[in-house]
Subunit: 232 residues, 2 copies
């Protein structure tokens, strides 16, 4: 067995979590990735998560099934609610968007905590960032802090062991442009990642949802072409 410290990394198939995995690996962790089949509109992100996990040499990859669509209430799990589209990044609103999935990060982190406890990992990485938390309540630093505190009371580790559980959010104070710059340094192939909320056939990004617009600005700021938009 490896002598490296183990970490669980939440992987979505998108740009942020791929960068997060590269950072965890760079910090010397043995990485165990987990992706969620939660009733999302499309399965492309799960394929990408698997691919990213392999390319970045994660020790294990796991897909967990949890049907959040049964609760409804989000454009990301309910085909009857349209994903908002805009022409420019400036038109993204300030309110919690309809793409918010009720309690999603709470559920994902809880399941990652269960997984971490069984593989004896004390470190969990999640790629929430400063751009997301303007809209999603469960991407804010104070939420992550509260989750970590709760996790340390919830588990065997918190009772029987001295070693604290840590929720790492290495991207939380970075802009999308800074995340991309960091990922490029670490050799992340962003051609594998998919950020779009509403991709077309073969996972082609729509280029008009909030996620596509934020991503486009991030690459533009770095003066780099998005490799996922280069036609093969």
């Amino acid at each position: 067995m490896s002598s490296l410290k183990r970490a669980v990394i939440l992987l979505s198939g998108g740009l942020d979590s791929a960068t997060c995995l590269a950072i965890a690996r760079n910090q010397g962790f043995e990485t165990h990735t987990v992706a969620f089949r939660y009733g999302q509109r499309h399965q492309y992100e799960l394929q990408r998560a698997q691919l990213i996990s392999e390319k970045l040499d994660a020790t294990s990859h796991r897909i967990v099934d949890i049907d959040l669509a049964q609760f409804g209430g989000s454009a990301l799990t309910d085909a009857a609610i349209d994903v908002p589209k805009s022409e420019t990044v400036e038109s993204i609103g300030e309110a919690i968007p309809v793409t918010y999935v009720p309690a999603r990060n709470t559920v994902f982190l809880s399941l990652s905590l269960a997984f971490a406890e069984t593989v004896d990992a004390k470190d969990i990485f999640i790629g929430v960032n400063s751009l997301d938390y303007s809209g999603y309540p469960d991407c804010r630093p104070e939420f992550i802090q509260a989750f970590e505190q709760m996790a340390n009371l919830a588990t065997k580790a918190g009772v029987e062991e001295s070693q604290k559980l840590n929720i790492h959010t290495p991207l939380i104070h970075l802009t999308k442009a800074e995340i991309i710059a960091r990922g490029m340094e670490l050799g992340v192939d962003y051609g594998l990642t998919l950020s779009c909320y509403d991709p077309g056939d073969a996972g082609r990004p729509c280029q008009h949802c909030d996620a596509c617009l934020l991503r486009a600005r991030g690459f533009a700021t770095n003066g780099i072409q998005d490799p996922s938009l280069v036609s093969g």
Copy 2:
């Protein structure tokens, strides 16, 4: 639509959560019950949860699938780990038992939070009690308090609304005997409930696991025969 305040109640099919439902109803809530198919050793408790929900007039009942057995690590989800059996309640140990399921209450409460958010409920009831929390970290009052704090930062309610999310634990400081006495007052039919970790055919309690022994003592203290042990 009813004008009552809505509450989500976690139901396991056991004695505690049935009492919890009766208390929520008695407090005037419109009750929405949720049970979890999490990879437990037997399905009897899910049948009982459904039955209890109907008999206590819950407005809705829902079974959520979340496979915690895939993570392993507990006698309650892994047939290869034996459920401990004893002759007397005094032989139950002090350490976290092998029937602990990693992060189970965290996962169940998180999913209940997602459900509560979509049905606009601000109140969640869970039947953790003072007997359980001697062994399970995620049954302790400090865990529940930390979860509630986290939940208020995780959700739309915590950001956009003034009304706080509450995690109710009406049994937390009661002994098993006190829980049973309260339930009898409220007309709970304990003949419907199943506490056993390892029941035989037709859900017959083993009478030797920790849950059976604690239950037996609770009925004995009240001087009542356990109606679930009366052969039909």
